[in-house]
Amino acid sequence: MTIRILVVDDHPIVRQGLKTLLEGHSGWQVIGEASDGAEALEKAGELNPDVMVLDVTMPRMNGLEACRLLRRQYPDLEILFVTQHDSPQMMREALEAGARGYVVKSNAARDLLAAVEAVSQHRVFTALNERTYPHVS
C-alpha cells in the first residue's frame, strides 16, 4: 500500500534520519518536509499527505498547536508524534489534540514503521520508554 508521508521536525538531521528510515519501506514515500508547525499547515494543504510525522517542540508553532488546527482542517489526515518527551502527560495531550500515534524519539528507529502502519489504517499506536514507564507502554 502506498502511504504518502510529510515529515515535520525543526532539525534537518532528524528529518533526514526519519526520511531514510521511512523510505526504506517499500511503497512509502516522503512527499515533503517542514521545519515547524506553521509550515506543516501550509504543506499539508499543498501536498495532501496520508500521514504526518510531527515533532512537539518546534519554533513559531509547536506540534500540539499545529495538530489541533490540522485535525479541524484535514480530518482525513492521520498525525503521528515523534518526540523527545517520554511522558504520559504529553502523550495524553497529543492524543487529545487529535493525534493517532505517539512515539518517543529515542525509540523511533524501532517503533516508527509499526506506528505509521497502524495510524495509516486509522488505528492508535502509542509507545513510551519501557524503562521509565513500564506500566504505560
Binding site: 525543526d10 538531521i13 532528524v14 498547536e65 524519539k105
Partner: protein, 233 residues
C-alpha cells in the same frame, strides 16, 4: 584512503541522519556507531577512527566526559561535539575537554561536513554562531572566570562526574556499580564524597547540579496552550 568516522548519539534516528549526510561525501566512511559515551570510548579504542562525532547529551557518559576519556586514552583522537545549545558555558567546557569541533545540532546539516573537512585538514571548526569574543577570551585568558559565570563549585574527579550523571539519570547505587563494574560499596563511598564535596543533602540537589553542569540534559515541554476566551455573541 577513506576517512573513517565514528558516530555517537543516543538517538538512532539522528545517527541515521548523520550517516546519510556524511556518506554522501566521497571518500568518507562511517566505520561505527555508538549509542552512549561508554560505547563510544570502547568503539573508538577498537576501531581507531580518524574523527569521532559525539552528541553532548548522551546517557551513561555524556559527550564532554566522553571527549575527555578519549583524549586521555589517545591525544590524537579528533573529536567534534554536537550540541543543542551554544551557551558560553558549554562552549568553554567543550574546548576545555579538548574538542576540535563544535557544531549545533540544528545546524548539523549545514556545518557538519565543513567541520569534518576542517579536522581532516588539521584545523579546528566552531559553528558560526559561536561568539568570537567568547572564543578569543577563552583562548587568551584560559580559565579566567567571566562576570556572568556562576561561582565555581569544588571540582569532581572524572569518576565522580560519571557517577553523578548515572545517579542523576535515576540509577540506584547498585545499578551504577553494575554499569561501572565496581562494588556497590565503592559507589556508595563515591556518592558520599560527591555529596560532601558539593554540600548536598538530597538526590534532588544532585539532579539540579547535573542539569546545570550539562552532565544531563532535559527537554522542556512547550508552553501550555493559551486559555480560550468566551466566544463573542
Amino acid at each position: 584512503m577513506a576517512l573513517r568516522i565514528l558516530l555517537a548519539d543516543d538517538h538512532e534516528i539522528v545517527r541515521r541522519g548523520l550517516r546519510a549526510l556524511l556518506e554522501k561525501h566521497e571518500g568518507w566512511e562511517v566505520c561505527g556507531e555508538a549509542s552512549d559515551g561508554r560505547e563510544a570510548v570502547d568503539k573508538a579504542l577498537q576501531l581507531k577512527p580518524d574523527v569521532v562525532i559525539v552528541d553532548i547529551g548522551m546517557p551513561n557518559l555524556n559527550g564532554l566526559d566522553t571527549t575527555r576519556q578519549l583524549l586521555q586514552h589517545d591525544p590524537h583522537f579528533k573529536v567534534i561535539v554536537l550540541t543543542i545549545t551554544d551557551s558560553d558555558q558549554v562552549i568553554r567546557e567543550a574546548l576545555d575537554a579538548g574538542a576540535r569541533g563544535f557544531v549545533l545540532k540544528s545546524d548539523a546539516a549545514r556545518d557538519l561536513v565543513s567541520a569534518v573537512e576542517a579536522l581532516q585538514n588539521k584545523r579546528m571548526f566552531f559553528t558560526p554562531r559561536v561568539n568570537d569574543l567568547v572564543l578569543a577570551g577563552f583562548l587568551e585568558k584560559g580559565q579566567k572566570v567571566s562576570r556572568n559565570e556562576a561561582p565555581k563549585l569544588p571540582t569532581l574527579t572524572a569518576r565522580e562526574r560519571e557517577i553523578t550523571q548515572l545517579l542523576a539519570e535515576g540509577n540506584s547505587s547498585k545499578e551504577v556499580a553494575s554499569l561501572l563494574n565496581l562494588s556497590t560499596k565503592t559507589v556508595e563511598t563515591h556518592r558520599s564524597n560527591i555529596m560532601r564535596k558539593l554540600s548536598f543533602h538530597s538526590i534532588r540537589d544532585l539532579v539540579v547540579y547535573a542539569i546545570k553542569n550539562n552532565l544531563i540534559q532535559i527537554e522542556l515541554p512547550p508552553p501550555p496552550k493559551s486559555p480560550t476566551g468566551p466566544t463573542a455573541a
